[in-house]
């Protein structure tokens, strides 16, 4: 067995946080390894050490059985190690070729490396020249020694010299900065491993999968034969994933070593030869994939046996909470992102929305939250206000008067509320004393309201975009201040009221088991899963009527994912109408009470998860189902 990489007691800390502690293991050459671990278990940090992003505080790294000193990504390339990061490191305005070309040095031409190696014994041009000169001098001066022999020697040296000179000429030609030569080299690589890549496409026009391919080609062009991929499938569709895996297997066939950082067990089982498990920064063990089972791996990863079931409760007394009818939303290109969509979300139910990403899910949720302009259609919230006191928040006095004149309120004694002749101040006092009570559920037309009013009416959105921090949280602010993004208007006077948000933050940290030094830690310093817990937790804390969440488990490990699923289940039990946009069909089928499939902005169908199969959903997702029949 040949070793590609060996870690020896590698330790890396960030301030007080220990990311890796005394990690030792080795990676066999020509195999596909999976590094498995929960969020924050130090997988990425460990790999960043060999990729030259971080420098270990203690311990040694051996590559190809030699100790490696890697201080920068460039050093990593010298050891033929390349890493594909989760956030792609591409220049958006560059074409694929330009992205590959950036930073290329002359020594980086692989052919040059080979030639150098082959002719190492002849000596450099300078040495040869010196030798030839010395010999010529000797020939001139010598009368005793066999001149013929010396002449022959000189001739041989001159021949070698000519070889070196012509080689250097060739190399210079190969090294000459030309995007064409780089393009040619890219083509050999893509052909060899079966990648598909347009060399002249600019990075901003590429899909995620194309960008990933470009990153891999970039690394391979540097002569990388140990390739590390950080959660490569997190943002890929199933088809793209299988394509990637095929290419990785091809790479293995060609003798390359591949390491995948992941927490998706099914992918580990599918692609890897060996699994290394990390937990809380420490090495737990390794196992041949053939001998591994999902439950065994989970146990190693989490450290205890956990059950991975979602207990779906039966919806209690579901009533319509949010009604969307004939909604149309325009997209940037001028077409329709959402085209004539109608559905209702019911209290005490989880409505799942399935669909290939980019089929209008984001726009739909944003329009309900008031963040996306509505082209046509209605969105109505039925606020369960019956027999509840009126709160005046974000309602004008005029609106209150109008409602009162229609006879929408009654006093505690049962008499109708009449506000004619009363001043605003008096009305405010009545509301404050909770004396005005709704006769019936309040019907709110969401389509005309601004985002703040919609929030106050109880519709909350927790959207987790691909970069996690892109929406909802401010990375540079601490957890408490991020809570305040929702409550900054509360309280009197010009000063901020931090006590309540501070308590909210403490509750979320405690209840959702957020791993953080304290509540005053900047959110961007937390790991991805913890950031998501803070985001989802904040929206739930304010007791929403409708809770919408998209991709809340994106990039999360099993434990955190199930924590989030249970949170949603809890919300449902409390009578909230939950709308869940998800990617994983298995989870949608287990978690939801009804599943709506979106395809190209249209409702392809609404299904009962107990009566539908994954395959059928997939069919509706991709082409809108047989004959585009709409079901209700």
């Amino acid at each position: 067995m040949k070793e590609a990489i060996r870690f020896e007691k590698v330790t890396k800390t960030f301030g007080k946080v220990v990311a890796n502690k005394d990690v030792s293991f080795s990676v066999e050459k020509g195999k596909i390894y999976a590094i498995l671990g929960e969020n924050g278990s130090g997988k990425t940090t460990l790999m960043n050490v060999i990729a030259g992003i971080y420098k270990q505080d203690a311990g040694k790294v051996y590559i190809n059985e030699k100790e490696a000193h890697i201080n920068s990504p460039l050093d990593a390339f010298k050891y033929n190690v390349g890493m594909i990061h989760q956030h792609f490191k591409l220049v958006d305005v560059f074409t694929a070729v330009e992205n590959v070309a950036q930073g290329l040095k002359e020594e980086d031409v692989p052919e040059y490396k080979v030639l150098q190696e082959e002719y190492k014994d002849i000596g450099t041009r300078k040495e040869l020249k010196k030798k030839i000169k010395k010999l010529e001098k000797e020939i001139k001066n010598s009368q005793l020694v066999d001149v013929e022999l010396l002449r022959n020697q000189a001739k041989r040296l001159r021949d070698n010299y000519d070889i070196i000179v012509s080689l250097e000429k060739q190399e210079r030609r190969a090294r000459r900065y030309s995007l064409k030569t780089i393009e040619k080299r890219m083509k050999t690589i893509t052909d060899r491993y079966g990648f598909i890549l347009d060399p002249h496409k600019r990075a901003y026009d590429m899909s995620v999968s194309e960008k990933q391919t470009l990153e891999i080609v970039k690394a391979l062009n540097r002569g990388v034969n140990i390739l590390i991929l950080d959660e490569p499938t997190a943002v890929l569709t199933p088809q793209e994933t299988s394509h990637l895996f095929a290419a990785l297997r091809n790479m293995k066939e060609h003798g390359n070593t591949v390491i995948i950082i992941t927490h998706k067990l099914n992918e580990v089982m599918e692609i890897s030869d060996k699994v290394v498990v990390l937990r809380k920064g420490e090495y737990v063990g390794e196992i041949n994939t053939r001998q591994a089972t999902t439950s065994k791996l989970t146990e190693m990863m989490v450290g205890k046996k956990i059950t991975l079931d979602i207990k779906r409760s039966k919806p209690v007394n579901p009533t319509d909470r949010l009604i969307v009818s004939h909604l149309k939303l325009r997209n940037k290109e001028g077409g329709f992102a959402i085209d004539d969509v109608s559905f209702e979300a019911r209290s005490g139910e989880i409505l799942g929305i399935a669909g290939i990403s980019g089929n209008g899910q984001k726009e739909l949720l944003e329009s309900i939250a008031g963040l996306y302009p509505i082209n046509a259609g209605d969105i109505t919230l039925i606020n369960p206000k019956k027999d509840q006191p009126l709160t005046i928040l974000h309602k004008t006095f005029k609106e209150v008067r109008d409602l009162a004149s229609k006879g929408a309120f009654y006093y505690k004694d049962g008499s109708d509320v009449k506000l004619d002749g009363k001043s605003n101040k008096e009305i405010a006092q009545l509301v404050k004393d909770k004396k005005i009570i709704f006769k019936d559920n309040e019907i709110v037309d969401i389509a005309e309201k601004d985002p703040l009013t919609i929030r106050e009416a109880g519709i909350h959105l927790a959207f987790v975009p691909e970069d996690r921090l892109g929406m909802g949280l401010v990375g540079d602010m601490d957890i408490v201040d991020n809570m305040m993004l929702r409550t900054y208007k509360h309280g009197k006077g010009p000063f901020l009221h931090r006590e309540k948000p501070s308590k909210t933050a403490e509750n979320i940290i405690k209840e959702l088991e957020v791993v953080t030094p304290n509540k005053n830690t900047q959110v961007r310093l937390l790991s991805g899963g913890n950031i998501q817990k803070v985001l989802v937790g904040r929206e739930i804390v304010f007791a929403p009527k409708v809770f919408m969440t998209a991709y809340p488990v994106r990039g999360l490990d099993i434990n955190s994912s199930y924590a989030i699923y249970n949170l949603l289940e809890k919300q449902k039990k409390e009578g909230v109408a939950v709308i869940y946009v998800g990617e994983d069909l298995d989870v949608l089928l287990q978690l939801c009470d009804r599943i709506l499939v979106l395809c190209q902005g249209k409702v392809a169908g609404i299904f009962d998860p107990k009566k539908v199969t994954k395959e059928k959903l997939g069919l509706y997702m991709t082409n809108g189902g047989p004959g585009h029949v709409q079901k209700a």
Binding site: I53, P73, K89, V91, A101, Q102, G103, L104, K105, K218
Partner: protein, 323 residues
């Protein structure tokens, strides 16, 4: 009249070209350098010191050397500008300070330092600097023989043609060379460049120092060429720096476009004198470049063309281990 207006603008434009193409080099490396006005002023100071040093050391009666009278101030201005760039880089790259804050303080510092020092230099007696200024006037003394064409295009000084060549050379460098590609990568996405093995620190230091040197030539050109070494006129050098900053945006970070744009702006700046406009109207006309910049920004954002956007990493300090 147009011919003489054009000729004056043609001479004036070198100031803008140096400022804008120098700043293009800086900004392509990812540095939003608000210190350009200050650096330009420091360049003017450097040029004056260089010229005084040379011209006043030539014994009276001996004619000044035509090559040295250009070369010595040029080197001085380059060095002064590069030093200002070095200070900027030390603060933003090594100490990771905020680029805007550093840039603005550099402007305040540079303008103050240069004004103070130039005022001191005015006192030197028996200076031959104005003589030197006259020598700099025309690169091709026989330009009048070519008629209107000669007047318009051949009446420039050494700096005029140097600026044009430099602006084109910078464009070629950015688009066609390996180093240019790497520099653009550093300015667009330093993390990507770093991962590709480009030394981000080195590139940012060098591009900013070289760019600052070029910017400094703008100040030198204004004082020694356009104003013929009359120090009293130097008080407004920083205003050209601000204009240069907006020209960079106007030209969408393409160095060669600064040539025609600078020519037009040069014309606009002289136009009020030719039309004998009142001071108020003249002020309005001088605002035109800024208005044009705003319009270009509006158009480019409306088109949404990614090719016209500033370097994506502009103004961001890079730290590898940042999470």
């Amino acid at each position: 009249m147009f011919v003489s207006l054009f000729a004056r603008a043609f001479r004036m434009m070198a100031v803008y070209i140096f400022g804008a193409s120098g700043d293009t080099v800086i900004e392509k490396g990812g540095h939003l350098n608000m210190g350009v006005p200050g650096i330009m002023f420091i360049g003017a100071l450097g040029g004056i010191i260089g010229e005084v040093t040379y011209a006043n050391n030539v014994p009276a009666g001996t004619p000044l050397n035509g090559f040295l009278i250009i070369f010595v101030p040029l080197i001085f201005a380059l060095i002064f500008g590069a030093l200002a760039g070095l200070l900027y880089c030390f603060l933003t790259v090594t100490l990771k300070c905020n680029q805007n804050v550093v840039g603005l303080s550099l402007t305040t510092f540079g303008v103050g330092l240069a004004r103070f020092s130039i005022a001191g230099l005015t006192g030197i007696k028996g200076s031959r600097v104005s003589e030197a200024g006259l020598m700099l006037q025309n690169l091709f003394p026989g330009y009048k023989a070519a008629g209107a064409f000669g007047e318009m295009f051949l009446s420039g000084s050494f700096f005029t043609y140097f600026a044009i060549i430099l602006a084109i050379a910078i464009s070629i460098f950015m688009a066609k060379t390996k180093t240019g590609l790497n520099l653009r990568a550093v300015g667009e996405n330093p993390a990507s460049a770093d991962a590709a093995g480009i030394n981000v620190t080195k590139y940012r230091y060098l591009s900013t120092m070289i760019g600052s040197g070029i910017v400094a030539l703008g100040g030198l050109t204004y004082v020694l060429d356009v104003e013929m070494g009359v120090y009293a006129a130097t008080d407004i050098v920083d205003s050209f720096g601000w204009l240069a900053l907006s020209i960079v945006i106007l030209c969408a970070w393409r160095s060669w476009i600064t040539i025609p744009v600078s020519l037009v702006i040069g014309m606009l700046s002289i136009l009020p004198v030719y039309l004998s406009l009142s001071t108020e109207v003249a002020k309005l006309v001088s605002a035109v470049p800024y208005v044009a910049t705003v319009i270009v920004l509006i158009i480019s954002s409306a088109i949404g063309s990614k090719k016209m956007q500033p370097p994506a990493g502009l103004g961001k300090t890079y730290f590898r281990e940042d999470r």
